[in-house]
């Protein structure tokens, strides 16, 4: 067959036009189809599960990528069991927060999605999240009070807590015993214990390759007995001597040999503790299975100890909340679905928290049903959240947190004057709070 240049160009042009038209079908890089359209048999993308369940409505549900094996299959199983609507699960690897935030600016929004701490102030103010107060009000008391406090803004709730993650201090009791010291109850104890257990082969305490400033910076506010913001959220509430003394105490610790400045992995990975690089490590509850696998019963956990006379123990916690898109096409059906999954299905909630890594069910009554939290470090951790749990205030914005971390770093690493550094931070916070107040 003779192919002329003209016919080749015509064929190529037609293909390019067809590809362009096909690409116009969706502006969502993660989508496998428009939410309300029935899909042809077998037409699924690698990241999308086939619609399951029944009903005339199809809902899109987004999750971020969980690190533990089996979570994706579990959430697909929960979705498949729902009969009032078809639910498509989207498993989103990569920078989920940015992808979700960008998608919510479009008209093609997912119906149901996870958001950290049940939604940011910007998301609430810009009307991206549906009000879930009506379905949460009757059951609000069943959830962990510390979490619900964080999930409530101006008496409204925009997300249902799914499961709780938290940070805590891991230690090896045998090493402490060998050094003749007790588990630390105060920050001064922590400094002494770290110094006592360190040797040429093992560090005393590790909290990240930045000396722990990134992860422990905000904890210094709570552990010194302060809160981030005043009750009316119009100003910062921690700029006092207790806080400045906590900073200088940590500065001394930072310079001491007891603090391990660098290890093979960051604080959020249990590797440094598992590898025996440190006797104590600040880490996440999610690392507990790996740590127990390495050290068996030789593992203890603590909250971050109180600093100074007015101090108190503190652990930060976080919880993803199931939210509904206010701009979604099926808001009522979505609210029914999230109520069914995250309020009514106790068994699935325990499975989600307990079967893949170690997490704490958001409903307090279910904690007892999670066998990993029944005894030992898991039980202690669950108690820490209830008794010593703190979370960033909803008006503690990214810009404010960044300015705070910079001030902490300048004081501790560069030895700058705390009062001067935090005077500058206070000015930034004042501007930011005024903007956020609207």
């Amino acid at each position: 067959m003779n192919i002329s240049r003209r016919s080749l160009l015509l064929a190529g042009g037609s293909l390019a036009a067809a590809a362009t038209l096909a690409a116009c079908g969706s502006n969502n890089p993660l989508a496998s189809g428009t939410p309300s359209e029935a899909k042809p048999s077998g037409a699924t993308s690698p990241n999308a599960s086939a619609p399951a369940g029944g009903g005339d409505v199809t809902l899109q549900q987004w999750y971020h990528e969980y690190g533990e094996a089996g979570v994706k299959e579990a959430v697909e199983k929960y979705a498949a069991a729902y009969t009032a609507a078809k639910v498509e699960v989207k498993w989103t690897p990569g920078d989920y927060g940015s992808i979700l935030a960008a998608q919510l600016l479009t008209t093609d929004v997912p119906d149901v999605f996870e958001v950290e701490q049940g939604g940011s102030l910007d998301m609430i103010r810009s009307g991206q999240l549906a009000d879930l107060t009506d379905i949460m009000a009757p059951v609000k008391d069943q959830f962990n009070p510390a979490v619900m406090k964080r999930f409530t803004f101006e008496d409204k709730v925009h997300g249902i807590p799914q499961t709780i993650d938290m940070q805590l201090l891991y230690y090896r009791p045998s090493l402490l015993q060998k050094a003749g010291v007790e588990p630390p109850k105060t920050f001064a104890d922590l400094v002494k214990v770290a110094d006592a257990v360190k040797s040429a082969d093992i560090g005393g305490f590790f909290a990240g390759n930045d000396g722990g400033l990134g992860v422990l910076g905000t904890i210094l506010i709570w552990a010194s007995g302060n809160e981030q913001l005043t009750e009316d959220r119009s100003a910062v509430a921690f700029l006092n001597d207790n806080f400045y003394n906590a900073l200088t105490a940590y500065r001394d610790f930072y310079k001491s040999a007891g603090l391990l400045q660098a290890a093979s992995a960051e604080w959020y990975d249990g590797a440094a503790f598992v590898n025996g690089e440190t006797a104590m490590q600040w880490g996440g509850l999610w690392s507990l299975p790996d740590i127990q696998k390495a050290w068996g019963d030789d593992v203890g956990v603590l909250p971050f100890p109180a600093i100074g006379a007015g101090g108190r123990p503190a652990v930060p916690f976080g919880a993803f909340g199931a939210c509904v898109a206010a701009k979604g096409k099926n808001v009522d059906a979505s609210k029914e679905f999230v109520k069914w999954l995250w309020i009514d299905q106790d068994e699935d909630q325990v499975d989600f928290s307990n079967s893949y890594g170690t997490h704490i069910p958001a409903k307090t009554a279910l904690v007892a049903k999670a066998d990993k939290l029944a005894a030992g470090p898991g039980k202690d951790a669950a108690d820490f959240v209830s008794n010593h749990g703190f979370a960033n205030d909803i008006m503690w914005s990214g810009a404010m947190g960044d300015a705070y971390n910079a001030a902490v770093s300048n004081v501790i690493k560069d030895g700058k004057d705390p009062k001067a550094e935090f005077a500058a931070f206070e000015a930034t916070a004042k501007t930011e709070l005024a903007k956020l107040a609207g």
């Binding site: 390019a16 990134g214 960051e266 770093s409």
Partner: protein, 318 residues
């Protein structure tokens, strides 16, 4: 025969269309092939730039169609932000290191490889291959391999073998050693590319010029100073301009070497990292401040570019 006697010709209505079409419709084919790319450029480059400029005058949190006009409020916010101003200082420090260093190293390699006769292709490939490596991957290798602050990090192990017992926390701040990691990573990634540009420039210098200079008794440094460098002026201008813009756009290796989950230290923070953190960090979207930041950065790059062009061309056209 007079013109008046000629019969009046009807206007050729097809003449304009023929001119537009061109011979054998070449103009139309040109438009057909160029239009998709031009449209892409407009839609994905120029419109976002213009919209970013518009957003910079509004409070635009979680919206691309804001309604609250704030004038130069976002600009004032950034220009009073110590961290943003510090980030500009970081850029200048980085550019002061990386631009001349990359220039000298890539020119030096090009001169070396221009002279050798054995293994030239092999060495060109060896130095060029890192250009194909992702900045993110290079940053991870640098961070967790060479500059790992643990006792068993590659450099720390080497230093311990030399008798230095205390491991060095290369990237942890409190010292300026993180610059060693940042500058060496970028050098490794970029030198090969600019070396190729210089080799192309060297190949354009006529051999006769060197021969004439040699007959006059010039050699070595004098050939380099009076023949090679002046002849490479056009290439040098382009290389320095590209290096400067690339330095301004530094993000990947900084973010991946010094950042942690949701955290970035106040030191070693270039402008793009700072803008990313305050405009898009933690899933937030403050597009007004982000837009203002990009406009400020664009202005700075334009000023630097124009100034550099003016300085390098003062002695006549390249």
């Amino acid at each position: 025969m007079s013109d008046a006697a000629a019969p009046a010709q009807p206007p050729d209505r097809r003449g304009l269309w023929r001119r537009i079409r061109g011979t054998q419709g070449r103009n139309l084919w040109f438009a057909a092939f160029v239009a998709p790319f031009f449209l892409g450029l407009v839609v994905f480059v120029y419109v976002p730039i213009l919209w970013s400029a518009v957003l910079s005058f509004f409070e635009a949190r979680n919206t691309v169609t804001p309604t609250k006009f704030v004038g130069f409020g976002n600009y004032a916010y950034l220009l009073q932000d110590r961290l943003f101003l510090n980030s500009l200082v970081v850029f200048i420090a980085f550019a002061v290191f990386i631009v001349p260093l990359t220039y000298v190293c890539s020119l030096g390699l090009a001169l070396l490889l221009d002279k050798i006769t054995i293994g030239r292709a092999f060495f060109r490939s060896v130095f060029f291959i890192p250009t194909a490596v992702s900045y993110v991957i290079a940053a991870i290798i640098w961070r967790f391999g060479f500059f790992n602050g643990a006792r068993f990090g590659l450099l720390n192990s080497f230093l311990r073998s030399l008798g230095l017992e205390q491991p060095i926390n290369w990237l942890g701040g409190g010292n300026n050693l993180y610059w060693v990691a940042l500058v060496s990573a970028r050098l490794w990634l970029q030198v090969g590319f600019y070396m190729i540009l210089f080799i192309a420039g060297l190949n354009k210098i006529p051999v006769e010029t060197y021969e004439a200079a040699a007959l006059d008794g010039a050699s070595g440094w004098r050939l380099l100073r009076w023949i090679t460098l002046p002849q490479l002026k056009a290439t040098s201008v382009a290389v320095i301009m590209l290096l400067l813009i690339n330095a301004f756009q530094a993000f990947d290796e900084f973010y991946n070497m010094l950042g942690s989950i949701g955290q970035y230290p106040p030191y070693g923070r270039p402008p793009l990292v700072h803008l990313y953190l305050i405009a898009l960090g933690g899933g937030q979207q403050d597009l007004g401040v982000g837009g203002a930041g990009t406009m400020i950065l664009t202005s700075i790059i334009v000023v630097f570019g124009v100034a550099q062009n003016w300085i390098l061309n003062r002695g006549g056209k390249a």
